[in-house]
């Protein structure tokens, strides 16, 4: 008789959880930092790492919650070392234990490496717990042997996780709703290509990335009032008009701007990385 457990995913057992809980304990400050703004390990990368691990472990609850989070944040291509990070995260998930961070050390600063370790550990624990819910459901529906002793253990894990899981699921639902309600990024209206200055052209191409975040997009593009902001990068100036579902860019600073944001080109462009707080220090905001 085949005595193998027909449930295909890894669930939370003490021997599987312990290495990750120990890793979490070692890297807790990194985990906290990964959720703070302005860090070298940005939120979009964090969510990619989480989804890479989740894909290996097959946890549908985590996939739903963090998929919602990723949709909310939007796409961003300004991230170095993506593939190395994702390869490391997947390898950890497949091994079922934290691995040597040597592949990351050469390409990421130590605080970012700590954040990656913590993120992998955190989502591993979450995946195991999420899979345990499904494992328990499978027992209750007789898709796998009931095995009362193990079922009791799984029920205890699920009960312990409920206080955290419910807010997470609620947050996922809220993020998903925000993404769906956010207006799309409209095609920017710009002067004829031969007239539009370099800053206008750059901003027009950056718009999808700058406005990738659903909340920001709702606030800016969905604003009932047209927001008029001047930008000055080096000597070159532009005016952004956003709101009521439209985005328009003009050469020069219009007299009706609310504020003028000044700075070098690079920090203005790097705002698109999502590192708003980090880059804001390099910008000046003044009244026109």
């Amino acid at each position: 008789m085949d005595r193998r457990d027909p449930f295909p995913r890894r669930t939370a057992t003490p021997d599987r959880l312990l290495p990750w809980i120990a890793e979490l304990a070692r890297t807790l400050p990194g985990l906290v930092r990964s959720y703070l703004p302005g860090q070298s390990f940005d939120a979009r990368t964090r969510e990619r790492v989480i989804l890479a691990v989740t894909e290996v472990n097959g946890c549908r609850y985590c996939a739903w919650i963090h998929g919602s989070w990723q949709d909310f944040l939007g796409e961003n291509s300004l991230v170095d070392a993506d593939e190395t990070l994702l390869t490391y995260a997947r390898a950890c998930a497949e091994a079922g234990r934290p691995l040597d961070t040597a592949p990351l050390n050469g390409i990421l600063p130590p605080d970012a490496v700590a954040a990656v370790r913590a993120t992998v550990a955190q989502i591993e624990v979450s995946n195991l717990v999420g899979n345990t819910v499904d494992g328990l459901l499978a027992r209750l529906t007789r898709k796998r042997p009931l095995d009362p002793v193990n079922a009791a253990g799984e029920a205890a894990v699920v009960a312990a996780a409920i206080p955290l899981a419910i807010p997470m699921l609620a947050a996922g639902a809220a993020l998903r709703a925000a993404s769906r309600l956010a207006p799309p990024v409209p095609a920017p209206q710009i002067p004829p290509a031969g007239e539009a200055n370099l800053l206008v052209h750059l901003l027009a191409q950056l718009a999808p990335t700058l406005l990738a975040n659903s909340l920001l997009r709702s606030a800016v593009i969905g604003s009932p009032v047209v927001l008029v902001v001047g930008l000055k990068a080096g000597r070159t100036t532009a005016t952004v008009r956003a709101g009521r579902g439209r985005l328009a860019l003009e050469n020069g600073v219009s007299p009706d701007v609310l504020v003028v944001v000044e700075g070098d080109v690079e920090p203005l462009l790097r705002l698109a990385s999502g590192q708003v707080l980090q880059e804001a220090r390099n910008l000046r905001i003044r009244r026109p």
Partner: protein
């Protein structure tokens, strides 16, 4: 035997066709040419046999690969056959120790880059602001400028040696490879390679070229910086070149950026826009070396009043239009897909102390003839000389515009010569203007070389 049959006997009938538009014209204002057949040889032996056949029958021979020299150099002017060398696309030899590669004429920049990335990732060739399907060898033989020309000079200097089929069918070799079986240098034997550089195929058909490679530093940064006027642009190019610490400093004036973002006609520079864009490449064998060069570069930019610079690779990931600038070779669609399809330029090499005046004069001429002041430049060979290249897109379907651009190119050739700049990849018209001003001794020597190599003037006729 009919000519077509005789050609087919050498290369196979599937590689002989009547000459069509693709081989009789190019993107420039130069008028279409004429030829009887296009022949596509695959080996040096086939080239030799075709050249012997042409020699016996007194037929002109015009060699071509991609046909994007932007000077009409590969348009057949006197009939005969076009020798399309694209099938000769073997990378014959890689010498990682002596750092060179031997290529046939049809090897493209994309092909060589992929090959080196796979087979010798510690080495690098140098790439032009040109499409990936263009010929590595032709770029070198025409003395083009690439993204390592700041430290290492025009591309003719990268040639270590050549295998050439002469007009009478004799196959010769130049450089160290003419003596031993390694093509490590042009020295120390008599330097005959120059007989085939910038001579535009008039002295023979080059079938193999040994080209230098360079070590590929593992650390790299690329900046895009803005210059507000010609003085600042020249000042910083000169300063960067003279340190010997930078890989490239390519300059393009503001119309290039407009075209990069899709503009075609009615280009206008707003008052607060930069005058020129500088692409600055910095590399280092270690992070420390790179950091030191970055610090030096920042200081030099500041000293020359250039306050704005940013990481070009990083921005290119966010701004799709800039991807074309981030990695060479590049598609150049913003130049090649211009409405009307016309692209031409006068490019020239000359001394730094005439650069500002020459640049100003050329840009004034472009504007006077109704074109935006599109200038491309870079310091060359450590700053020994500089580039002035004036670019014009135009509508090939508009005869008046074609005539206007033809007149303009002539005036630009004269203007650069007035400023002691000499056109490279010279069109027939530019070559004529060069020879009009050349020292009589230079003209006589050129004639004697051609008399020796091609007394009937059948090799790419109409040049020089």
């Amino acid at each position: 035997m009919e000519l077509k049959d005789a050609l087919a006997a050498v290369v196979g009938s599937e590689h002989v066709d009547p000459a069509g538009d693709q081989h009789l014209q190019d993107v420039t204002e130069n008028p279409p040419g004429h030829a009887e057949f296009v022949v596509r040889p695959h080996t040096t032996d086939e080239v030799r046999a075709l050249v012997v056949l042409a020699h016996e029958r007194g037929i002109p021979v015009t060699p071509v690969v991609a046909g994007y020299n932007v000077a009409g150099i590969a348009i057949p002017r006197a009939g005969g056959i076009v020798l399309d060398l694209t099938r000769m696309n073997a990378i014959v030899e890689l010498d990682r120790e002596a750092m060179y590669v031997v290529v046939e004429p049809g090897v493209t920049f994309a092909q060589l880059k992929t090959f080196l990335d796979g087979e010798a990732p510690e080495l690098v060739y140098t790439y032009p602001f040109a499409p990936p399907f263009t010929s590595v060898m032709m770029n070198a033989l025409l003395d083009g400028l690439n993204n390592l020309s700041l430290p290492h000079g025009a591309m003719g200097k990268w040639v270590n040696g050549l295998e050439v089929v002469l007009a009478d069918g004799e196959v010769v070799r130049t450089g160290s490879g003419g003596v031993v079986d390694r093509w490590f240098a042009r020295a120390p034997v008599p330097d005959f390679s120059g007989l085939f550089v910038s001579t535009q195929g008039t002295t023979g058909i080059v079938t193999r070229a040994a080209l230098q490679l360079q070590p590929k530093p593992p650390y790299r940064r690329r900046w895009l910086a803005f210059a507000e006027d010609l003085g600042a642009a020249y000042g910083v190019m000169r300063a960067l070149a003279r340190t010997g610490s930078f890989d490239d400093c390519g300059l393009m004036t503001w119309p290039a950026a407009k075209q990069l973002f899709g503009a075609t006609r009615d280009l206008q520079r707003s008052e607060d826009e930069p005058f020129a864009y500088l692409m600055i490449d910095i590399t280092g064998a270690s992070q420390g070396e790179l950091d030191a060069r970055v610090d030096l570069g920042k200081r030099l930019l500041t000293e020359h009043g250039i306050e704005q610079s940013f990481d070009a690779d990083e921005v290119a990931r966010l701004v799709p239009a800039l991807v074309k600038m981030a990695e060479l070779p590049t598609t150049l669609d913003f130049l090649l897909d211009y409405p009307g399809g016309g692209l031409t330029w006068v490019g020239s090499y000359g001394p730094g102390d005439r650069w500002i005046d020459g640049a100003r004069r050329g840009m004034d001429l472009l504007v006077e003839y109704g074109f935006p002041p599109f200038l491309v430049s870079r310091p060359m060979d450590g700053g020994h000389f500089y580039v002035l290249r004036f670019v014009a897109n135009f509508d090939k379907g508009d005869p008046a515009e074609v005539e206007r651009v033809r007149t303009l190119m002539g005036k630009l050739a004269d203007a650069v010569l007035d400023h002691e700049y000499v056109p490279y990849k010279a069109s027939a018209d530019a070559a004529h203007r060069i020879l009009e001003r050349a020292h009589p001794g230079f003209v006589r020597l050129l004639e004697r070389v051609r008399d020796a190599f091609d007394p009937d003037r059948r090799m790419n006729p109409g040049r020089w």
